[in-house]
Symmetry: C2
Subunit: 552 residues, 2 copies
């Protein structure tokens, strides 16, 4: 078995340096992926519709089922997947465990890297599968579910490989005792925790799941992937390719199983509570995440909800700021965990080199930029995409009844390719800083609150309090004052929230780069997923050291 | 401030290589510590008795109290310590936090290393304080509370320093975008979790506490040390010296506070449950440890109880085996968390090059070796020490009523230096392997159970099951068969239990070396203290990354 040494080495190096690195090109360019790659991928996706997904190597299913619906077509995909009982899944996982944990880490790495190379050939198919389950626009669906997910998976493999290599396999321990020495041969084993269950979400079915899958697999744990019933196909393709590589190496394909369920018969709790399950990765709502975190005897990694803030104090060019933030709230209709929700603006306005921009002036600019993007037929529909869940649309409608001035109502628009798409543009509401009950919870979807504060100090205090109490995954801040900058950096760091300062142009606070940006590092209630720092992989195994005297 | 670069560098190197390293000599030799060091230490200890302990730099006490008693004299020490309310402790800790977290890691390391150098000068005083609170023999009291504890503290400093250094402080992130690049300045901060409470135990008041204290301090957290009311003085000396160094560097001495309480008014729960407390280190009983682990919103490190096994299959020299194990159960009257309790012996006996040694023959040898050590006036009293807690003596007495043949009754002996010492020699009881209810719990103290199994396979299965279900911190195994050896190594590794194979001579399964042996790495119910792997320190802080475009 050949280890993809060079790639792994580069990934480990990037992870250490935290500089830019990407193994999988993010542009769906024909020059990179081939002239027919896009059309082939689309055709393959279409051929999957209305059929059984037969690519898995799992056996013993009790039924075939699937309830995915396209947010673009508002019609079921009619793909069905094999359904297994929890006992069958666990039993097969137990069997696979004993083989996989004894597979050397170099072989595990080699197999997992190979699976990513296979998946790379299916990025376009995965992109269409992602569009028609999550509602993401084409570009995001390609990037987030394909190359960015693969990079994040590679990152987890690299982190796992590095951590497994940190302690020597063996060492001679030679203790001087005066006239003699005590010599012990010591050896250390990285013992995997056991069965790992990775619970997917409906908006980022691969990006949020592959880190847990690859993080658990590289460290020797068998994985059961439980996708969201609304977004199965993208991750099913990942699992199928992992199983293919396992089978080719004569290893048990049940080392990584897909556990599909349906909205009317969810097996997540049954799986999570099973005594044989030791590791749980979860992305989704806070209530379920907190329930999982409280399960005794489990190691749980969560990405739950967060209330993301933008602190506006001062700026070089307020128009560029408004444009950048308008893009951030339009992007995938604010269905990203990193999307901004609360915009804190002092009642005295935002300082700029050409004078103060008042609260109202900024609100106008922000609204104008949102409208301008939405109304650009070459950009709007593709940036906004579609709305995954009907309930998000209801929440957006309800936001217009919040106590405060509605600066912009949500509306629909026509997607030239999908007339039936479920869409909603951002609603923008002004809220006074005293109305904390309104803005201290996540309002998932395209809902932006412009919050008038007494001062930037109040803005910072509120952003910190919300992050500490209710969680936050991202934060944006605009200031040209170095003292204010450090105050924001320090206070938000205490709330474990990464701050993007003064972003303008084509980089957005929603974005999160593998090998460089930590993601949900565990210091606030939004979760402890920790893509990817040492803990994210070290918690998946236990070091055990044995020792024995050297024979004379 | 000069960093003790060389020492720290050596410690980090040893930690990586896991080879032998000791910064603090374990022998209380005059040639090392000075001709009068022992006498001076003893005099200083005696001068402390019956007085207020006025070395701390804490103010605002509500009373002076102390209830320590010497197990050797069975008399109170009459030392009193300042007592503070939880609110005062928390409030001072909060203030100290903001200064300490901003103190650069090199300065923190320097201060902590300096404190260990000071403490080194007080090893003998700490040794006597340890003897007269824990009942440990002189040699163990010196080693465990002095050099071994200091080495373990240094190890925690080294691990913390290394982890804080793993992510660069800043990096240029330069992403090619075709015709241009996006350049971000990124910076990462290691943000300490917050107030750390370290809860001590009565048997190893410094060894089990310094890792948490130094692990939390190096990573920027203020610490409140809550000693066991029965064993305060040894750790009070550590805290006093840490405060001295802090004060000399014009830093708040409340960065590390001592929180003394009394048996009738314990403040542990109040402290642990306080919302400002983020980190808890605990050594003690399983019930309290599990209560702490279940507290929401806390990072908890525990060392709870374990049921330690010895698996006897075959041996080169059974007499050496019996002698080694007899020493292990006599050492500090089996009041170590690593002391063996359950000895699994196949009914077919133990294979040796000179023929099978039957169960009964081994039991006789074991008992003979225990007696021979106990009855050696130059060794016995010093190896056994005294019994810390009256209840341990009651448990030993009760063990004679267990269902099984009593091979050896517990008895007392005379300590030539302390006629009033509370002592108890090991009781040895034969138990059938079917009587699981007897041996599946920790029987703390000098209680050894010889368990007759059907075969070595049953011995291994039982040892694994006990470790998995009830926890285990150590395991001994004797086998000359490489297949059996690997089976034991594999099965016990799955139960996260380190195995000492075939120990004879002057090294014992109870012993645990800093920089090399992991301790309670978290894979079984005995706890997750994890001295010292990466998790032990990385869980004490959160990485937060900020970013900002490079200015054109």
């Amino acid at each position: 078995m050949t280890l993809h040494h060079e790639l792994l080495g580069k990934a480990i190096e990037a992870l250490r340096a935290r500089t830019f690195f990407a193994a999988y090109p993010e542009h769906p360019a024909p020059a990179i992926y081939g002239e027919t790659a896009d059309a082939d991928g689309q055709a393959k996706f279409k051929a999957t519709l209305g059929k059984r997904f037969t690519e898995l190597k799992q056996t013993g299913e009790t039924a075939w089922a699937g309830q995915e619906e396209s947010p673009y077509l508002q019609q079921p995909l009619n793909i069905s997947y094999p359904v297994f009982t929890t006992e069958v899944l666990i039993s097969k996982s137990k069997t696979a465990f004993n083989e996989w944990r004894k597979t050397p880490k170099d072989d595990r790495a080699s197999i997992l890297l190979e699976s990513l190379e296979r998946i790379k050939k299916r990025f376009f198919e995965i992109a269409y599968a992602t569009m028609h389950t999550t509602g993401q626009g084409y570009m995001m669906a390609f990037q987030a579910s394909g190359p960015h997910a693969a990079d994040r998976a590679l990152e987890a493999i690299a982190a796992g490989y590095e951590e497994l290599s940190r302690i020597p396999g063996a060492a001679l321990w030679d203790k001087p005792m005066g006239k003699f020495t005590i010599q012990l041969n010591k050896e250390w084993r990285a013992v995997p925790k056991g069965i790992s269950v990775v619970i997917g979400c409906s908006t980022f079915p691969t990006w949020n799941s592959v880190t847990g899958i690859y993080g658990s697999l590289i460290t020797g744990n068998p994985v059961i992937v439980k996708p969201h019933p609304g977004a199965i196909l993208p991750i099913a393709i990942f699992v199928a390719e992992i199983q293919n590589v396992l089978a080719e190496h004569k290893l048990d394909p049940n080392t990584c199983q897909l556990a599909v369920d349906t909205f009317d018969n969810m097996i997540t709790k049954e799986l999570a509570e099973h005594e044989a399950v030791k590791l749980i990765d979860f992305t989704g709502n806070s209530a379920f995440g907190s329930y999982l975190e409280a399960l005794p005897g489990k190691i749980v990694f969560t990405e739950k909800t967060g209330v993301n803030s933008v602190i506006l104090d001062s700026a070089e060019d307020i128009d560029k700021v408004a444009a950048n933030l308008a893009f951030s709230v339009n992007l995938y209709s604010s269905q990203m965990c990193t999307a901004p929700q609360n915009f804190f603006i002092p009642e005295s306005g935002i300082k700029t080199p050409t004078g103060v921009v008042t609260f109202d002036q900024f609100a106008e600019k922000f609204v104008a930029n949102i409208n301008s993007l939405v109304d650009n037929p070459k950009a709007g529909p593709f940036v906004l995409g579609a709305v995954q869940n009907k309930k998000t649309c209801e929440r957006v409608e309800a936001a217009e009844n919040l106590q405060g001035k509605v600066w912009l109502k949500s509306r629909t628009f026509e997607n030239p390719m999908f007339k039936q798409a479920r869409v909603a543009t951002p609603v923008v509401v002004e809220v006074d800083s005293s109305k904390k009950e309104i803005f201290s919870k996540e309002l998932f979807g395209p809902i932006a609150l412009l919050i008038k504060t007494k001062s930037t100090n109040e803005s910072i205090a509120l952003a910190q309090e919300l992050a500490s109490k209710h969680g936050a995954i991202s934060c944006g801040a605009y200031t040209t004052d170095s003292v204010v900058r450090e105050k924001i950096a320090d206070e938000m760091a205490l709330a474990a929230t990464p701050v993007s300062f003064n972003l303008t142009g084509s980089i957005y606070m929603n974005q999160n780069a593998a090998f460089s940006d930590f993601h949900v590092t565990g210091g606030n209630p939004s979760g402890n997923a920790s893509f990817t720092n040492a803990e994210y992989v070290t918690k998946r195994f236990t070091w055990v050291g044995h020792r024995e005297p050297v024979k004379a």
